[in-house]
């Protein structure tokens, strides 16, 4: 039992200094432990969340347009089958673009996973390379939805640079 106020004050100061020292040490370790890796990991996570959020919307719109194409050709069976096939062909670049982006994202994730066991200076070149590949694939996927006139299905807000490819929807 501490009876003397001065000793109590010293104990309290020791407690505070101990916690402060450990907290500062932990923060220093955190600062050293790969800010660029953390930023890349956060970006990869956010990108996947954005695409996964958009996925059911894309599927629903694909189906809605398919039904509209069938209705427009109703009610001869052959005409409706042709309209549906045309619709499916029109959307193939969108599906392909999405899958290529997904494969690139898997590679990016795999490169980041290696950063759990490797220092940042060793794993980061692979992370940066796979990140750039993902970015390229995302641009192509976004351009694919814009080519069919569905900019509203682009999961990211800013318009991508699609080169000379017309992205005003074209004609069916």
């Amino acid at each position: 039992m501490i009876r003397h106020p001065r000793r109590l004050a010293r104990v309290r100061r020791a407690w505070l200094w101990a916690h402060l020292a450990v907290a500062l040490a932990a923060l220093a370790l955190d600062a050293c432990a790969s800010g660029p890796v953390r930023a890349q990991a956060a970006a990869a996570n956010t990108a996947a969340l954005a695409f996964n959020r958009a996925l059911p919307v894309v599927v629903a719109e694909y189906e809605r347009e398919g039904r509209a194409a069938i209705d427009a050709a109703c009610c001869d069976a052959a005409a409706m089958r042709t309209a549906l096939a045309t619709h499916q062909t029109r959307w193939q670049p969108v599906v392909l673009g999405w899958e290529l982006a997904r494969i690139a994202h898997d590679d990016w994730r795999a490169a980041l996973e290696r950063c759990r066991d490797q220092p940042a200076e060793v794993c980061m070149p692979g992370v940066e390379r796979t990140a750039l590949t993902f970015v390229d694939s995302v641009v192509r996927a976004r351009c694919a939805v814009r080519v069919i006139g569905r900019a509203d299905l682009d999961p990211l807000p800013d318009p991508p640079a699609c080169g000379d490819v017309p992205t005003d929807g074209g004609t069916q």
């Binding site: 104990v11 450990v22 040490a25 932990a26 800010g35 990108a47 599927v59 069976a77 999405w98 996973e113």
Partner: protein, 88 residues
């Protein structure tokens, strides 16, 4: 500082916390309280090292569009068949 180094630091802090707690019970007061405070601080640091210093964290997996499109194609085929059979 690598993730591995952070994990090692966490182990060191955890060990230090255990030693300090043991020492705190063996020394006279008020030094026992001081050592307990240091042990608690070291334990906090070990926890931070174990849970807060992984730079990668959890990365969501991007889902494939293909299963959803295939399911939609099945529904569209059913819809087409129903429209073809419906009275004009």
């Amino acid at each position: 500082m690598t993730t591995q180094a952070a994990a090692i630091a966490g182990d060191i802090l955890s060990t230090a916390a255990t030693l300090l707690r043991g020492a705190a019970s063996a020394v006279p007061q008020p030094w026992g309280i001081v050592l307990s405070a240091l042990a608690a601080g070291a334990g906090l640091g070990a926890d931070l090292a174990a849970h807060g210093l992984d730079p990668v964290g959890t990365i969501e997996e991007m889902r494939s569009l293909v299963p959803g499109i295939k399911a939609a194609d099945g529904r569209l085929a059913d819809y087409l068949a129903a429209r073809a059979q419906a009275p004009q």
